[in-house]
Amino acid sequence: MSASARQTLEMSSPWTLSEVRATFVSIVLSVAMLIIGWWLASGTGQVNRQIGAVVLGIAAVVALGIGSFFWLLQGRRAVALRQSQILGRVEATVSAAAEKDLPETDLELPVRLAESNRYHRPSCVLVHGKPVTPASRVRDAGTEPCEMCCP
């Protein structure tokens, strides 16, 4: 298999080429053990010899189970790792987009006049040139947003 084909396989699937190989080997090995076990058991009438063949068959099932378990475990791990990487990128993209969309005034704290219970953007015409104090956006604090500048 060429290097580009290997890279394509590893990019388009949660498993690496070595994991695919290992699982394939475990399946082939267990099927071969099962066939050999059946061959040995059916070729003799002695139960003590057949017991060995049954043990071989059980070993085949165990080998297949271990191979399948690690196959699924590696796949699940790869998907979870990629999910967390993509989530990180989504968060970065969303926060970058949010920063681009926000005007500069949104990053500033709202203000209010001393005698008023309305809070404004610092650039609002209603507070322009007047003495202001920092205000809270929380309505429970007894303040309301200005209807002109909509802070």
Binding site: S30, L34, W38, A41, A53, I58, S68
Partner: protein, 115 residues
């Protein structure tokens, strides 16, 4: 035609279902073979071929089905990553509008509230 395209698109799940089906049939054949004789020496080959063989086929089928689910998830992540790359490559609209001499884009929420 639809069946053919379905099998082509879902070959892994179709194979998995077939393997589970064949595995269950093998288990049944094994049980019939074992119950049909009282001699242990005649029962053993059925235990291996029908019983253990059936279990192996069912296990491979289940693994294949779960692998198909993981593969689907991986493809969805591929598509999401591609979409994210497109979004991050998209030029900044504020820079573009400033280049044209127009005013920077206003936030839509403020416009909607004033209206």
């Amino acid at each position: 035609m639809e069946m053919k395209s379905f099998v082509h698109a879902q070959w892994d799940r179709v194979t998995a279902a077939l393997m589970v089906l064949v595995g269950v049939i093998m288990l049944l054949i094994g049980w019939i073979g074992v119950s049909g004789t009282g001699l242990s020496a005649e029962q053993m080959p059925y235990v291996i071929s029908g019983g253990l063989g059936g279990i192996v086929l069912v296990a491979i089928g289940c693994t294949l089905w779960l692998s198909a689910d993981l593969q689907d998830e991986w493809r969805r992540l591929d598509a999401l990553e591609k979409r994210l790359e497109e979004l991050s490559r998209r030029p900044d609209p504020q820079v573009r509008s400033s280049d044209n001499g127009a005013a920077p884009r206003r936030r839509e929420r403020s416009t909607a509230a004033n209206a």
